[in-house]
């Protein structure tokens, strides 16, 4: 079975005044169709660089990024992105914001169909009735929901989420986690989630990739066995506690604060 996303031996360095700064080195990540991979790692280890590589906004110095059996050489319209900053256009209504990608990407949808789809997505994330509001009238969590709808409107193959819930308070964040499961059920996508939150990673993803400290390589891969949509209670089971322990230990190794031979506490 071919993977939808294949990252093979990717190496990348930024040019700085004090010479090249390697951020990624020998990165290997594979995501099957319909899979959802969370990428965790220490701060500044190049996670955001990874999203830009997958989106085709940057080219790696070495190695290959494959999407759908095609090598990524530049931006492609089959990608949807959401960032920590929801970057909604304040001069547009929420509905018009969600419709933005369809103004760029060629679409078979008519205007009415596109609007219908936008309304459907907004309702799915719980923003029914806010279609004609401006972003400034919405809370941070609501804006992030709208940003999610915009990332999905053109039915992308790949959804790239770069810490989309990072700036939200804990309760709003948990709300959005559940929304993500609901969305994935109705609008299946293949996803890559960059996050700092280990609970978020095991709650949303079916595979968690731990990156090492800079320059980042794939240090550890944890599969999260799951059956159907999860609930918040699933985070408080012994299995979840064990997964979190493993991940926390791996992060400590990545930060250089623990030795690989240490057994997980």
């Amino acid at each position: 079975m071919t993977n939808l996303i294949d990252i093979k031996g990717v190496r990348h360095a930024y040019q700085t005044d004090s010479g090249p700064l390697p951020v990624l080195d020998g990165l290997e990540i594979s995501v099957p169709e319909g899979g959802f991979v969370a990428v965790v790692g220490p701060s500044g280890c190049g996670k955001s660089t990874l999203t830009r590589l997958i989106a085709g906004l940057m080219k790696p110095d070495a190695g290959e990024v494959w999407l759908h059996g095609e090598r990524v050489k530049g931006p492609r319209s089959t990608v949807g992105m959401a960032f920590q900053n929801p970057v909604l256009l304040e001069w547009r209504t929420i509905l018009k914001n969600v419709l933005l990608p369809l103004e760029i990407v060629p679409t078979k949808l008519s205007r009415t169909q596109a609007e219908e789809r936008a309304r459907f997505l907004l309702a799915l994330v719980g923003l029914e009735g806010f279609e004609e509001k401006r972003p400034s009238e919405l809370s941070g969590g609501m804006r992030q929901r709208a940003s999610l709808c915009r990332a999905l409107i053109h039915q992308p193959d790949v959804l790239i989420l770069d810490e989309p819930f990072g700036a939200l308070d804990a309760f709003t964040r948990e709300d959005l986690w559940q929304t993500m499961h609901k969305v994935k059920e109705r609008e299946p996508f293949t996803g890559v989630l960059i996050t700092h939150d280990l609970r978020e990673s095991i709650f949303l993803a079916d595979q968690v990739v731990v990156l090492s400290g800079r320059p980042a390589r794939t240090q550890y891969v944890l599969d999260i066995p799951s059956s159907g949509p999860r609930t918040l209670e699933d985070l408080y089971t012994p299995e979840a506690a064990e997964q979190l322990n493993i991940l926390r230990h791996q992060i400590q190794i990545a930060q250089g604060r623990a030795q690989p031979e240490d057994t997980a506490p």
Binding site: R76, M81, N85, V87, L89, E90, V105, I160
Partner: protein, 255 residues
């Protein structure tokens, strides 16, 4: 009192109070008419010279607006160049700052000598020179501070630079642009009047002011100042109205 009524009544009352205070001050100090004019002196001045006020006011107005219009076009283009290219920004910024620092009153005689007799051109040129700077700076800052995520959202879908400019960069810069335009409106008036007063050629309110000065006609001089203030207010609020239409989204609901 309704909101709209208050929006008009409050500034009107403030203006009336100011005029009363002015009238009182002149009366209280006992200033003669060759030293200071009172508001009550202005009415006869307007009556006597009304035709001049209309023609010369129009001359000042159209030259200011034309200069401002050119400043908007040139300033926006310059701002775009500096906003999109780091090298151009580094290259042009010091020159611009230096140019802006030159008092424009010193430029007047140079311009007047360079283009002798071309009064309209000279005046428009000065209005333009004095007012394009804030527009160029604000547009360049607006474009260069655009968060990279805004670009990425469209770029990741394969949008061209031109599309990104029209859909995101331009509208996002509008609030800064209008902020600068409000400053530029007033500056353009200063530019026009500098030319009209320093290098008088019998046109515009500045020339009318100058003839009042040579005759020690204080009521006329003050009448010109008030007329200039009036034109300035009108133009300013036209910009405010345009801002409401094109960048009204940037205004947060009060409270």
């Amino acid at each position: 009192m309704t909101k709209q009524l208050r929006a008009i009544a409050v500034p009107m009352i403030a203006i009336v109070i100011l005029l009363i205070f002015w009238e009182w001050l002149v009366w209280f100090k006992g200033w003669p008419r060759f030293k200071m004019a009172a508001p009550s002196d202005l009415i006869p001045a307007y009556q006597r010279h009304w035709d001049l006020f209309v023609t010369m006011g129009w001359q000042t107005l159209w030259r200011t607006v034309l200069g401002l219009f050119l400043a908007v076009i040139f300033g926006t283009l310059l701002g775009m160049i500096m906003g999109f290219s780091r090298i151009m920004r580094d290259a042009l910024y010091p020159i611009l700052v230096g140019f802006n620092a030159i008092p424009k009153a010193t430029v007047v005689p140079i311009v007047a000598l360079m283009f002798v007799g071309q009064h309209d051109f000279n005046t428009v040129l000065l209005a333009f020179m004095i007012s394009f700077f804030p527009i160029a700076v604000s547009v360049s800052i607006g474009l260069s501070t655009l968060e990279p995520e805004y670009r990425d959202i469209l770029r990741s879908l394969g949008a061209s630079q031109a599309t990104i400019f029209w859909k995101i960069a331009l509208p996002k810069t509008l609030p800064e642009f209008f902020g600068a335009l409000k400053v530029a409106v007033t500056l353009a008036f200063i530019g026009t009047n500098l030319m009209e007063i320093v290098s008088p050629h019998g046109r515009g309110l500045g020339a009318l002011f100058d003839s009042g000065r040579t005759n020690s006609d204080f009521p006329l001089m003050f009448a010109v100042l008030i007329a200039l203030a009036f034109l300035g207010i009108v133009l300013y609020y036209i910009v405010v109205a345009l801002e409401k239409i094109f960048a009204g989204w940037a205004e947060r609901a009060p409270g």
